[in-house]
Every structure is written in structure tokens, then in C-alpha cells.
Symmetry: C2
Subunit: 143 residues, 2 copies
């Protein structure tokens, strides 16, 4: 149905990426993702690969990086996916990538701890709820 090079304006692009308009514009301002074209009247026009980039950014968010760092990492990922790399550049890329990998590891441990803590608290709340409502069945009926 749609030509592969169809250009979308910000509303559709944001909806596809699951981001708000404000967020998409802010990412552009911060140098993360820029639309590859503008209409005559100044409307942002996003290509498919622009939208891919938006999606990648969204999936990166759980890493807990700043937008500046995400821009940097995005650049690293793109460059390290190109097959032919000069050995010098390859080493430099590798070094940076190791840094971000270490950051990612820390983040993952943090998320694991937070998850465990949240589950523990959730259990405590269930216990207290049990004391407050010995007959939770009545709730279900009302609902």
C-alpha cells in the first residue's frame, strides 16, 4: 500500500514511535533524531528510517542514559554496524562500546534491585490489605 519512501508528519511519526510530539521535537533539539525533510510550509517530514531511529531511541530509554549519551551511543551503534572498519577506528569504537556496556550492566543490576524491592513492598501491602479486608470477595462483586 504505502510507498517505502513515504514521508510522515510529526503526528503520525510520534504515534508510531509511541512518543509525544513534544518529546520528538525535544529529541531533535538535543540532536538525537532530525526529520530528513520539511514541507514547504515548514512541517517536519519523517522517512521510514527516521522513524526507525525514533524507535531505537525509545527502546534505549531503559538504559537510563542522558539524551546526550544516547545520541553518542546511537552514533556508535550505527558506525559499528558498517562492515568495513579501519583497525584504529575499530579499537576506538570497541573501547567506547565497552564503556556503555559497563553502564548497561550497572543499570541492569539497578533494575533488578529495584524490581526486587518493589516486589517486596508489594507483598507487604498485600499483607496489610489482608488485615484491612478479611473479605476481599465483596470488592470483586461490586466491580
Amino acid at each position: 500500500v504505502p510507498a517505502a519512501d513515504r514521508l510522515l508528519q510529526i503526528g503520525e511519526a510520534a504515534a508510531i514511535a509511541g512518543l509525544s510530539l513534544r518529546t520528538v521535537r525535544y529529541y531533535e533539539e538535543m540532536g538525537l533524531v532530525a526529520p530528513s525533510a520539511r514541507s514547504e510550509g515548514g512541517f517536519r517530514l519523517y522517512s521510514e528510517s527516521d522513524i526507525d531511529r525514533l524507535l531505537v531511541v525509545k527502546r534505549m530509554k531503559p538504559l537510563g542514559l542522558s539524551l546526550e549519551e544516547m545520541a553518542h551511543l546511537l552514533d556508535l551503534l550505527e558506525r559499528s554496524e558498517r562492515p568495513e572498519l579501519a583497525p584504529a577506528e575499530r579499537d576506538a569504537l570497541g573501547a567506547k562500546l565497552e564503556e556503555y556496556s559497563a553502564r548497561a550492566d550497572e543499570r541492569i543490576e539497578r533494575l533488578e534491585r529495584d524490581l526486587a524491592e518493589a516486589r517486596t513492598l508489594r507483598l507487604r501491602m498485600s499483607e496489610l490489605l489482608g488485615r484491612c479486608r478479611p473479605t476481599p470477595a465483596a470488592e470483586k462483586v461490586r466491580a
Copy 2:
């Protein structure tokens, strides 16, 4: 060694709770945890139970609530732990607790998704690293 009612000033209290001084003061400003005493010269003095409260707040953080909501929930938890409750108040407490439990559930799901996403990305980074550094052993030696 220490009397049970020993009062600590903010530095030690914050260190024990694993929070910054700024954060402890801000929590007080927001009505979360206030020191139960002040020295003659105006230094904040924290009792053991004050510090317990700081610790509870810190453990609550993974729930992703606002400080205002945490203050509210803290109040709920304290009140619902007291054994004797009038039935009317018990119902009210239960209702609020259910709200926060639902919030906690959403948060837990969010954390699970974020964790999965972070792990996926971490794997991609490992793959790229493999391409950049076919001999990662050399790194270990240097370290």
C-alpha cells in the same frame, strides 16, 4: 556502645540511610521525614526511628511514586499497622491501599519490561563488541 536513644546529626543519618544531605533536607521540606529534635545551634538531630523512616522512604523509591504520594503511603502504612482499627477507618485505609497496590503492580510490570529491554540491548552491544574485538583477552591482561 551507643545508647538506643542516641541522636545523630544529618551527616551520619544520611550516610546510614544512603541518601545525600540535600535529599534528606528536601524530604523534610516536603513533609516526608523530619528530625525529632534540633540542637541549640539549630543542627538537625535524628533518632533511630527517624532513621528508620528515612530507610523506609529509600526502599519505597523503586515504586516510582512522587514524594507527595510517598508521604501519603507512609502515613497509610503506619496507620494500618496499628492493631486496633475502627471498621470505618479500616475500610478507608483498605481502599487507599488497594489504589497504591494497583500502582505498584503497574510499576512492577514497567520495571520488568525495562529490564527485558535493557538486557536485549546489552546483548546487541555484546555482539557488536565481538565484531570490534575478536581478542578481548588482551584487555583482561592489561587490567
